[in-house]
């Protein structure tokens, strides 16, 4: 019976949200919903483009920051460092993974936002309050580091010892071995870990909401505020019942989130499973 609940969950989620978002889908065409920036709930106009744009921008920036760090850390921990290091680092990663997102948000307000408004932005000659796409991306990147790093460590550990040994026996240096043998072997795994991080970042709500500024616009630079999809849903849940079709639009927003995240995860799983059968 409980297994039944599990099996039914994804279907229930999608059908339930689709059912709720039906009325907004009737009133507006799908392309209007996805590619229009016009957001006027009172006139029944719901264009999600600026929200989707913000979401994608924040997520991409966060990945840009965290993926290189994770990759270097994983290579160092599995290839160069003594195994003691890994034993010390593992609890740190686990604790970092366990910290609630609200704490990351508070930390973002305490540290990252002032840092950006006082030091980073003036360096580029820009004035900003600090609540910006960049702040959201930095906080997010810290949040997804433990997820990506954990998967990467697993993948690097699973590569058999003989491959690098063979490469070194042929006269390659350590770094050449890592570059041409290990990274190539681990490539599908790396891609899927990045996709996992991406889906995690895409759906993150509270921490991003607190630092990203929440202004519905197409940001021109990363120092301007944005308004990602999850923040939109969380911020407007209170008033959504008073305006017709508003709740339906927000449910459609969560449907977009769900579908995108499911697709990301599906792709990553496919990559990993194909990779597992290869070894």
């Amino acid at each position: 019976m409980f297994l039944g609940i599990i099996l039914a969950m994804p279907v229930l989620l999608i059908v339930g949200l689709l059912f709720k978002s039906e009325s907004v889908l009737h009133a507006n065409s799908l392309s209007d919903l996805l590619f229009s920036t016009e957001w006027k709930p009172f006139q029944g106009k719901f264009g999600f483009y600026s929200y989707i744009y913000s979401s994608v921008l924040v997520t991409m920036l966060a990945l840009l920051i965290s993926v290189p760090i994770c990759l270097f850390a994983a290579i160092y921990l599995t290839q160069y460092a003594k195994s003691v290091y890994l034993k010390v680092i593992q609890p740190v990663i686990d604790i970092l993974a366990g910290i609630p997102s609200i704490i990351f948000g508070v930390w973002g307000i305490l540290v990252i936002v002032p840092l950006i408004s006082h030091y980073v932005a003036p360096f580029f000659g820009i004035e900003t309050a600090g609540y910006s796409i960049l702040a959201g991306a930095v906080v997010l990147s810290v949040m997804i580091i433990p997820f990506i790093l954990n998967i990467l460590l697993e993948i690097f550990k699973s590569i058999s010892k003989e491959l690098p040994q063979a490469s070194i026996a042929l006269g390659a240096t350590k770094w050449q071995t890592i570059k041409y043998v290990i990274l190539r072997k681990a490539f599908p795994g790396i891609v899927s870990s990045v996709v996992f991080g991406m889906s995690r970042a895409f759906g993150e709500t509270i921490a991003v909401l607190m630092v990203v500024g929440n202004v519905a616009q197409i940001p021109k630079t990363i120092f301007e505020p944005g308004y990602p999809l999850p923040a939109l849903i969380a911020n407007n849940y209170g008033e959504m019942l008073s305006i017709p079709n508003y709740d339906s639009a927000l449910m459609f927003a969560s449907l977009i989130l769900l579908v995108i995240v499911l697709l990301f995860n599906l792709a990553a799983r496919m990559l990993i499973s194909r990779y597992e059968t290869k070894i």
Partner: protein
């Protein structure tokens, strides 16, 4: 490369340090022992006991519910459905997908279901939503260990005349107790720290709930609301509440390590 490691360690210590640095000075006994009094959100006296108790209720309820649903599923997958490899792998795949679904989607879904049935925001609705959200985590964490239990244990137990369910709940549970405790701890940590899914479903109130049908405050939301206040005094309390939440999470983290080490001793390998 050493730099990247240093950066990760530095960031963690920076997070903990900055939260405590801002939070601990405002953290008084009053904060953890009283519910908000009138005018609390304008800087008058009171504490966040309502949120602490509410969060604990919510997290305990959701974790227990998820364990009741999750443990049988994990056992079923590995003992009863042992022969159906494809089916079990399909379920694992599905669970991994569910693991990735953002909590706000669960929140929005739970909210629309509640409207459909005409239920108001309540502790019960929150517990159910959060338990659905942590269920995949719970099952996969238990499953990951149960699948590595040697077949010999199953065979020995079966040859002594016990049936599959007895084997599952009397032999396997004991064998995997450390993993189960770890799974419970991970799920509990997720449940207590998640704000997005309870935002819609649990509501917010200044009093401690006396029944599961009442709305309840939760610590993450309490931090969030206090932080959005313009008054410095209230913001300081938000930092103090954040420090409380961090302490709870750190305690859980340490506890799960200690317990899993302790249980690991009486385990056959």
């Amino acid at each position: 490369m050493q730099l990247s490691i240093a950066l990760i360690v530095l960031v963690l210590s920076l997070i903990v340090f900055s939260i405590f640095y801002r939070g601990l000075p405002s953290l008084t006994w009053e904060m953890v022992s009283q519910t908000p009094k009138g005018g609390y959100y304008f800087g008058k006296e009171g504490g966040v006991l309502n949120a602490i108790i509410g969060s604990l209720y919510l997290a305990f309820g959701a974790t227990i519910l998820a364990l009741v649903m999750g443990l049988p599923v994990a056992m079923l997958m590995n003992i009863h459905l042992r022969k159906f490899k494809k089916l079990v792998n399909g379920v694992r795949f599905l669970l991994d997908l569910l693991w990735g679904v953002p909590s706000i989607v669960y929140g929005a879904f739970g909210f629309s279901v509640m409207i459909f049935f005409g239920v108001k925001t309540s502790l019960l609705a929150g517990i159910i939503t959060v338990s659905l959200f942590i269920l995949p985590i719970m099952i996969r964490a238990i499953d990951e260990v149960v699948r590595n239990v040697p077949v010999g244990l199953l065979e020995a137990s079966m040859s002594l005349g016990s049936n599959k369910s007895q084997t599952a709940f009397m032999v396997y549970v004991r064998q995997c107790s450390s993993a189960i405790v770890t799974a419970i701890m991970i799920s509990f940590g997720r449940a207590i720290g998640d704000a997005a899914s309870v935002l819609f479903t649990t509501g917010y109130t200044d009093s401690i709930p006396t029944s599961v049908m009442q709305p309840s405050a939760t610590l993450p939301l309490s931090i969030f609301f206090q932080l959005s206040s313009p008054i410095q005094e209230v913001q300081n309390r938000a930092y103090a509440s954040a420090a409380i939440l961090t302490i709870i999470i750190l305690i859980i983290s340490v506890l799960s390590r200690v317990i899993s080490n302790k249980y690991n001793k009486n385990k056959i390998s």
